[in-house]
Assembly symmetry: C2
Homo-oligomer: 320 residues x 2
Amino acid sequence: MRIAIIGGGGMLGQKLAKALAPRGQLRGKPITHLALADIVDPTAVEAAFPVTTHRLDITDRAAVDGFLAERPDVIYHLAAIVSGQAEAEFDLGMKINLMGSINVFEATRALGTCPILVFTSSIAVYGGEIPDPIEDWTCLNPQTSYGAQKAAAEMLLTDFSRKGFFDGRGLRLPTISIRPGKPNKAASGFMSSIFREPLQGHEAICPVGPDYPHWYLSPRRCVENLVHAAEVQAADLGQNRCFALPGRTHRIGDMVEAMRRVAGDAPVGLIRWEPDPEIQKIVLGWKANFNPRKALRLGFVADESFEDNIRFFLEEDVER
Amino acid sequence: MRIAIIGGGGMLGQKLAKALAPRGQLRGKPITHLALADIVDPTAVEAAFPVTTHRLDITDRAAVDGFLAERPDVIYHLAAIVSGQAEAEFDLGMKINLMGSINVFEATRALGTCPILVFTSSIAVYGGEIPDPIEDWTCLNPQTSYGAQKAAAEMLLTDFSRKGFFDGRGLRLPTISIRPGKPNKAASGFMSSIFREPLQGHEAICPVGPDYPHWYLSPRRCVENLVHAAEVQAADLGQNRCFALPGRTHRIGDMVEAMRRVAGDAPVGLIRWEPDPEIQKIVLGWKANFNPRKALRLGFVADESFEDNIRFFLEEDVER
């Protein structure tokens, strides 16, 4: 079982690689090679099987062909320009999120081996005038360029799969919290930083009020779902290869109280509440209530409570 | 008011041009120029204002820029590879229907004038596991490459509009019946030919049974809707610029009886019923029941009955 992760240097790509290493197998077959590619050289992970790292610009089709030349059995396409940056730099978002994804899809098709292709979409594909809660059949109506580019790629992923070019699985990720590491340019960044920074002794700014509700998944459960996405049987996926992952709806205020229960009063005091109209303009268009029946039926999982999200961060990611 | 029609040589493009000519105005302003472009030189139409014809390959971005250099106020983008051909020639469909549309969108954006852009999508964007009837918020889940390419373009059209790059309006056309002229490669071709050919004294083959239900609009009402699409106020369109046009659901058998009522028994006898599994594989995935509330609210129209569709053909298009 040869596995390739495009976007393998990112937070999820690295955690996925680290989850595959001790696992040693996928779809019941031993992993014989893991190739990590990203726009900058990814960090290698320790494993009993060979792990290679590659610098790859997905806007360069020939480079994508070259990276896939070993004919992986499972390809993860996690590479993207995040929402805030795709909104600010429209052309870059189109180039990476849409055209880059088309390059990955076409290069995968060109292998002629119909490998599994797991693609990370986002709940940012939802928005505008749609009923609440969001069901599996709710229209994609993105209100950000990031969401529109992901949604367009989703349409192609399902079609390429229907044509037998590859066996695609597109996961609409909830907002991942608590993301470790440095802040990125995602408009959703505060949904991690207001916990991550205080839990590490630093101040953080919350640009929305305590009543703001949103849909969350921890990095740990997200990675479990990425692994599961490669294991699901194609026949069970039906006529739409893309669907919302399970998650939990939390209000910011309730999440802060969960942090207080797990980590005491001190971190909560490090949150500064400063409304930011620019960020609100983006995130208030996002949807909070989902009914992800298909994903639940297929065995994908959510966290039990936001206290889990806090604990997982303290176990896996905190830097003291 | 300068108007450009890309796909101006096609059936709808020509009928639209012929409807604009006697109208002489759009959005309350006199038409000063109509430019028709297509992959082969379009036929000019007679009008009191200048009409020019242009050969244009929308896969050539520089050519699209050149065609739009006069900075039209309203651009119709009707050009496409039809469903049967996009299914048989996947790369051509991607190139024209998706990449060609992106060229048109980007070239329109590059004008910097935020013109109105009317785009013809299709009910082929719907399919798979979705509730019946289709509502404005039902997910796009195309089961043809044509539908997937149109759906991907729709996502971009709404986003380019949200960004203020142009003022887009995407109409999901019902199956147009009765199409005049020669058969094309659309899988839906029989939905016109089984009326058009018999009404002109020729045999035609019906590849589905009389109970097959589908969603229809006449060319005349479609063109009225295309004109209306340019006249609707942007503020009334909401956060999704694409929506299903009104139409009527008819079973093939009922349509044949409508032809009998309008044109007598002779044409009905010219239909040969020969089931075709290849065509059925495509068209049985299409949806028949729609609830196009948004389009009706915005003033778009359907036919009164299929007898209208027969009569309009006899008035406008029959060749005796």
